[in-house]
């Protein structure tokens, strides 16, 4: 795996938001490679509705950071043609559910072009999808659509849970010769961390999970917006003597089976946590793989804590849909299938 950023030091770090890190990643990628073109609805003068592309049109011109007509299939479809001519388009879908009109382009062309042409026509495309709930968005502004993308061979699907990963993974996505659906957890846009944009810390390339918090009694497997939820749950569980390990997948496709398997074999118990509906969702795939590879190490069934199996709810009810700390802790308590918890596992 290649690394995409140089090692940083603790000195000189200031609090930065995930939004700032994403902007910086695009800016640095555009400065490093004239083939990188940003495009989408409102990405130019406005800087995007979340201001993630702020300043790019000013710095690189409106050809390199282009406002397009309002049409997602057109945005992605023209980006396919641009990639065919050697550019590296970075397209914004503005909101998760706004990407659905572009599905045919994504599924029929973006994901298959390399395969269709026996490798002759790669698709170095990055599709930024601000996703997930928790920001009080109205209908079509809170979906977690990653399962659709994961079910499409040919696409990479990544999602950062931290400021550093937001920068590192977006640089890796733009540098990739394969199409990457870059899922941005909207409610983490304003999360902060000490981070130095001049010396961004090292982040492995696409396809590597990370143990965010080591633990011994059970593994929480999660990604994106649920990473802070799981870390908080792990802290809360400590008071009751439970030592939870938190694995942040970072990349849903490719799926890092080694890191997940090694963790669950150590702890013997696993809960998969995500916001998207649980039925036929990412957790089902992950739980099945854990079952296949860790069966003899498991002390309890693999559980899932997911969003409800409902269309994304109205904002005044979304708190009941989104898996929070309590629901995670509930699942953890149900892991005491046959054995009581013992200190240190």
């Amino acid at each position: 795996m290649t690394t995409t950023a140089v090692a940083g030091t603790a000195a000189g770090r200031k609090p930065a938001t995930m939004a700032q890190a994403l902007t910086r990643a695009m800016r640095d990628a555009m400065a490093a490679d004239p083939a990188v073109h940003v495009m989408g609805e409102d990405v130019g003068q406005l800087g995007g509705v979340f201001r993630i592309t702020q300043g790019l049109a000013e710095e690189f011109g409106e050809d390199r950071c282009a406002d397009t007509p309002l049409a997602e299939a057109g945005i992605l479809g023209t980006a396919v043609g641009m990639a065919m001519y050697g550019l590296r388009p970075v397209v914004e879908m503005q909101f998760d559910a706004f990407g659905y009109p572009a599905f045919e382009q994504l599924v029929s062309h973006v994901s298959r072009m390399r395969n269709r042409t026996r490798g002759a026509t790669p698709m170095p495309l990055t599709i930024r999808v601000p996703y997930g709930g928790g920001i009080g968005g109205v209908e079509h502004h809170g979906d977690s659509s990653e399962a659709y993308y994961m079910a499409t061979p040919g696409l990479h699907v990544v999602t950062p849970g931290t400021v550093a990963d937001a920068y590192g993974l977006l640089r890796a996505a733009i540098a990739s010769d394969d199409p990457v659906v870059f899922m941005e957890p909207k409610r983490l846009y304003w999360s902060k961390a000490g981070w130095d944009p001049e010396r961004p810390e090292e982040v492995p390339g696409i396809g590597r999970a990370v143990v965010r918090r080591p633990g011994t009694t059970a593994t929480l497997v999660t990604y994106g917006p649920s990473v802070p939820v799981c870390l908080e749950a792990a802290e809360a569980a400590r008071e009751e003597g439970w030592d939870l390990e938190v694995v942040d997948l970072r990349s849903l496709v490719p799926f890092d089976e080694e890191t997940v398997t090694a963790s669950v074999r150590r702890t013997g118990r696993a809960v998969v946590v995500h916001e998207s509906p649980g039925f036929a969702g990412p957790g089902g795939e992950i739980a099945a793989r854990i079952g296949e590879r860790c069966f003899h190490h498991l002390e309890a069934p693999v559980l899932r804590v997911a969003g409800l199996d409902i269309p994304y709810p109205p904002p005044m009810l979304e708190k009941h849909h989104l898996p929070g700390v309590d629901r995670v802790l509930d699942a953890v308590s149900r892991l005491q299938w046959e054995a009581e918890w013992t200190e240190g596992g």
């Binding site: 299939a73 990639a83 390399r114 042409t117 010769d177 490719p254």
Partner: protein
């Protein structure tokens, strides 16, 4: 409190800014009659070399269609969507382009790709079923044959825009059928192209049917070329069986795009003489009496009449054209009758730059299955 409620202040609304149209519609509108050259006095001005060249390409194109249809009946191609009767559109599209330009064909446009110089076997790989695309698109400047309808049109727009941003002198010509004009991607592609003034030409081959559905059930527009006006680009209507007219209109549109004049929508009015594919029964939705008038307006016969009338073609010339076409057909027969050589491991080779761990595992599984099969065959042979 609103303005009206404020005491002592009368409400004097300002008039809205004067409305004016963004683009004058009149010059964008297509002529009501399709543009024709053959059979009119304009034909006399057509270059003799061009006429002969188009004739040779049409004769070869007809033979290509017949051979591919026969190969389908023999089970050598999985399916073949014929362009018999539409050869003039196919040839004109290919000939209107310069080497640096790009062609974006649909699944029915293999003949256009062949007329552009692509090896017929490479053009037919998709329809034979050994791989989806049989050639390197960048090498030939021919996009993969597109099976979904109209989805290749935005690709053409994006590629043309990218070329222009890089300062390259490249035009993209994208082909679509009458049914494809109903798809959302048709709308989005034309809109993007016009807004960006991208160097693109859209060629709609109106062959009368979307599988079985006639044009009257496809659109309520006066013509498909009329659709251009709503996007702010010119629409041109041309006789798609008149190779010279189609060549002239497309060449003009291509050169206008090249010169910065923006995109054009060209509707070529033609007719699908064969069924949609070998899997289709055209007698269920049209009668012989409907097809018959189009036999009298055959693209090859039209051009032949002009050539013989001007003394540009004799029996020896016609025989030479047929012999050249026969050579192409013989090559197709010879090479497509041989079984395709396939490597099942290719299934995993091109999904990603690097196969995922999961794909590697499946690759090992398939390899083991193949080895077991091979060993079983060896044992059977002993």
């Amino acid at each position: 409190m609103t303005v009206l409620e404020q005491p002592g202040r009368a409400y004097h609304p300002a008039p809205p800014p004067a409305w004016k149209p963004r683009t004058e519609a009149a010059p964008l509108l297509p002529d009501p009659e399709p543009y024709r050259v053959l059979g009119t006095s304009a034909a006399e001005k057509a270059d003799a070399g061009l006429l002969r060249e188009l004739y040779g390409a049409l004769v070869t194109g007809r033979r290509y269609n017949e051979q591919a249809t026969t190969l389908t009946k023999q089970g050598r191609l999985a399916v073949y969507p014929s362009t018999t009767g539409q050869e003039a559109c196919q040839v004109a599209a290919a000939r209107a382009l310069r080497p640096q330009d790009w062609l974006f064909p649909s699944y029915r446009d293999t003949l256009a790709a062949v007329a552009r110089g692509l090896d017929p076997v490479q053009a037919l790989t998709l329809l034979r079923g050994d791989w989806h695309t049989g050639y390197d698109p960048a090498e030939h400047r021919i996009a993969p044959l597109c099976t979904p309808l109209a989805t290749q049109l935005p690709h053409a727009v994006g590629l043309a825009r990218a070329a222009r941003l890089k300062g390259d002198d490249v035009v993209a010509l994208a082909m679509v059928g009458d049914g494809g004009t109903s798809e959302g991607d048709f709308h989005e592609a034309l809109n993007f192209a016009a807004v960006w003034r991208a160097p693109v030409v859209f060629l709609v081959q109106n062959n009368g049917f979307a599988i079985s559905v006639p044009l009257a059930k496809q659109t309520a527009a006066p013509s498909l070329a009329h659709k251009a006006v709503g996007y702010g680009m010119p629409g041109r209507l041309v006789d798609g069986n008149d190779a010279v007219a189609a060549y002239e209109v497309l060449t003009e549109a291509v050169e206008q795009a090249r010169g910065g004049g923006g995109p054009t929508l060209v509707e070529a009015v033609t007719y699908r003489m064969d069924a949609h594919t070998n899997a289709d029964d055209a007698t269920r939705y049209r009668t012989d009496s409907e097809v018959e008038p189009w036999r009298g307006h055959d693209p090859i016969a039209l051009l032949e009449a002009e050539l013989t009338g001007r003394g540009l073609l004799d029996e020896a010339g016609a025989a030479a054209a047929r012999a050249a076409a026969e050579e192409v057909a013989a090559g197709m027969r010879e090479r497509l009758h041989a079984d395709a050589e396939l490597d099942p491991m290719d299934l995993f080779a091109y999904v990603y730059t690097e196969p995922t761990q999961q794909l590697r595992a499946q690759e090992s599984m398939l390899r083991a299955e193949l080895e077991a099969d091979f060993q079983a065959e060896e044992e059977d042979a002993r």
